[in-house]
């Protein structure tokens, strides 16, 4: 709980990669420069690989386009989406760092209520380096934050918390609404700054958004597969949520925490709601089945690594969601391909994803 004397952001300089999917350009990085420049970037270029994406001067990065993905993964490249920001998860797979922060290229630095620029990366790091409290809800939110603590009645035996696997940030300005809501409320902007970080309780699911997200790759990386979306697929805009539901079931099983709330970024671009509606259309019906599926999903105690949990989930997806639509049979297979590819690219990671509690700090 004690704050380190050196700012946490500098402590993770060599332990964190920033993964950015892009199809346009990376101009947005100029605004983030003061906060991102010390870090290594992994750019995943979606769309036409013959196009050159210009990275602003001074950033240390590696860039992968579709040709690179095909070359590196061979036939397994089929699990990586094309023409959808879901391709970003390729970046998670090739990273060699302990932590990942991912952000969309239309997300900018937000200001807090005092007018100060928000260092979103620093807040994510703080969230990941402090424990989560999924077993009992603290009414004053994250007790490890400066100025907060556990409330009366919170059992002392639960106050050590568990390692934090994921830090889910939020967005000011354009909120992350689905297409129907966007159509009904095209002018609604999120102006409410909620000064809280909280642990999503064990057993509770939420719709994870990939726009402003950080995670402990060593803990939960293999579960962060963003699914089959985009070109040739019947669905889009469900990539991050799919990963989030799988991830949460696995975190709940393995005893890790997921935080949501701060930091905020400024989301500048509202995507076209009619385009979104076409992409989401099937999802709006399917999510009625998906939520009960994930809420009821249990993993056997023999599943002690993330990969084992994930493969078990893929079996359940095939068995129970296959009848919702044949897409889920394809997705289940892609989940298996993802794990195979992950293990190939991260050979020693198989036995490191274990259950020791200390790894979160």
């Amino acid at each position: 709980m004690a704050a380190a004397s050196v700012k946490p952001a500098l402590l993770l300089k060599d332990e964190l990669d920033i993964v950015i999917p892009t199809i346009r350009n990376l101009d947005f990085l100029e605004m983030w420069r003061p906060f991102f420049e010390p870090y290594h970037l992994i750019i995943v270029q979606d769309g036409d690989p013959s196009k050159t994406i210009k990275v602003p001067e001074g950033f240390d990065y590696e860039l992968y386009n579709r040709n690179d993905i095909n070359r590196i993964l061979g036939p397994k490249a089929s699990c990586i989406s094309f023409k959808d920001s879901a391709c970003r998860c390729f970046g998670y797979m090739v990273s060699k760092k302990k932590y990942i922060f991912t952000i969309d290229d239309d997300c900018f630095v937000a200001k807090d209520p005092s007018g100060k620029d928000i260092n979103a990366l620093e807040q994510h790091i703080e969230n990941l380096l402090t424990p989560s409290t999924p077993f009992f809800f603290n009414t004053l939110y994250d007790p490890y934050r400066d100025g907060a603590d556990f409330v009366r009645g919170y059992p002392f035996s639960l106050r050590e918390g568990v390692p934090t696997a994921v830090s889910h940030g939020l967005w000011l300005n354009i909120p992350d609404y689905d297409a129907p809501t966007q159509l009904v409320k095209p002018r609604e902007r999120n102006t409410r700054y909620v000064d809280a970080v909280l642990t999503v309780p064990k057993g509770t699911l939420f719709p994870m958004c990939g726009m402003n997200l950080a995670f402990n790759r060593e803990l939960i990386g293999p579960a962060m597969y963003f699914g089959l979306m985009g070109d040739g697929q019947p669905i889009g805009r469900y990539d991050d949520m799919w990963a989030g539901w799988c991830m949460k079931v696995i975190c709940d099983h393995l005893g890790w925490g997921v935080k949501t709330g701060l930091p905020y970024i400024w989301h500048s671009k509202a995507s076209n709601p009619f385009v979104n509606l076409k992409k989401e259309y099937s999802g709006i019906y399917w999510q009625e089945e998906l939520i009960p599926f994930f809420q009821a999903a249990t993993l056997p105690k023999e599943c002690t690594t993330v990969q084992q949990c994930y493969l078990e989930l893929s079996k359940q997806v095939k068995a129970k969601l296959g009848k919702v639509d044949p897409y889920f049979l394809k997705l289940a297979d892609a989940m298996i391909t993802w794990i195979e590819a992950w293990d190939e690219l991260n050979p020693s990671a198989g036995d490191s994803a274990n259950l020791t509690n200390g790894s979160g700090k």
Partner: protein, 358 residues
């Protein structure tokens, strides 16, 4: 379901008077309280006469009322100290109740504006709760917010909110060890959110600043767990934590919601945490048993009312906790007596004979 309209005449404000002089307390709250009916319940242990300023529409209940209503029906039920307010819940005939400790005053929000805690609680109770899936933008029924992408449409109408738990600026509701370790620590963070506590997630409900739907939560809001050395400071009690857990388990079972967050009240400095430490270890130790117990409670399909659920919890307390500490056996007895009392005296709202005012 959509927003309910809650009229002022459907609300009782119940204050447990642990201090005799309520003049400054009520004057501070006057702008927010004056249009409501108040029930003041005097701590039966308090010897001095209550001092109450003019201009309120209120009923006062004292020890003699409590003795008359409860009479010989129970030796296990004890309304002294913080528990006195529950007598007010029993005799109220309104559908909604707001309760705040008598050492709290209205707070100011981030913009320096006075917070209307009563109004915010009423809004929380009037709008649906969403316990079955977590909305990352918090309360979707708040102006300027909505459900996020990925929130199933079938879950967007929500369920009735049975309990609204507010928070505290200045002296937060920490336990004695925590406050003693950080004597200068004061809560200055105003978190501008209301959220539904998800189904299946338990939390410590603080009685300092709450509001509830009396029909749904009333029978379960009872201070069953009374510490042997319970005192007149919140640090020396866990009764609200106990009944809050009952309410949450029951709400989860019956499909009602519990909200937490806004509104804030300003809690005045009071008491000495280090002194209270001597008494509060008991509460701290008991929580280690209490929380796992409630996490394991499963209610039967046959339990379809709050009263039914409470009786099942009573049986489980007797079965699993009573042997661990006599305080649990007493709690079970008190809870069982309370349900009988509630059925005899407490149930029903609107017009009906109520005990005469003190």
């Amino acid at each position: 379901m959509s927003q309910t309209n809650i009229g002022d005449d459907e609300v009782d404000i119940v204050i447990g008077a642990l201090h005799a002089d309520l003049t400054s307390f009520l004057n501070e709250w006057r702008p927010l309280f004056s249009r409501f009916h108040l029930i003041i319940v005097k701590d039966p242990d308090l010897k001095e006469e209550l001092k109450i300023p003019e201009g309120f529409n209120l009923h006062v209940y004292t020890k003699s009322d409590i003795d008359r209503v409860v009479g010989l029906s129970s030796t296990a039920i004890n309304f002294s100290g913080y528990s006195c307010r529950y007598f007010g819940y029993l005799v109220s005939r309104k559908k909604y109740i707001f309760s705040v400790d008598d050492d709290c005053i209205p707070a100011k929000d981030n913009k320096g504006l006075s917070v209307d805690a009563v109004d915010q609680h009423i809004t929380n109770l009037a709008t649906p709760a969403t316990p079955f899936f977590f909305n990352t933008l918090y309360d979707p029924f708040c102006k300027g917010a909505d459900f996020v992408r990925g929130y199933p449409f079938s879950l967007r109408s929500g369920v009735t909110c049975a309990l609204s738990c507010g928070l505290w600026l200045n002296l937060a509701d920490h336990d004695a060890p925590t406050q003693a370790l950080k004597p200068g620590h004061r809560n200055s963070r105003y978190v501008d959110a209301v959220l539904t506590v998800p189904a299946g997630a338990l939390m410590p409900v603080s009685g300092v600043n709450i509001a509830f739907n009396r029909e749904l939560a009333g029978p379960a809001l009872f201070p069953g767990l009374r510490l042997a050395a319970e005192g007149k400071l919140r640090w020396e009690t866990v009764e609200d934590i106990w009944c809050g857990l009952c309410v949450k388990v029951i709400c989860d079972h019956l499909g009602h919601g519990v909200k937490t967050g806004l509104p804030y009240v300003w809690r005045n400095d009071r008491g000495n945490a280090i002194e209270s430490l001597k008494k509060e270890w008991e509460g701290v130790k008991l929580m280690e048993e209490v929380v796992p117990f409630f996490q394991s409670v499963r209610l039967s399909q046959a339990a379809v009312t709050t009263e039914d659920c409470m009786l099942e919890i009573v049986a489980l307390v007797k079965e699993r906790l009573a042997a661990l500490d006599p305080v649990f056996a007493r709690a079970a007895q008190a809870m069982a007596d309370w349900i009988k009392l509630w059925k005899a005296v407490g149930s029903g709202s609107g017009s009906g004979s109520s005990p005469s005012n003190g």
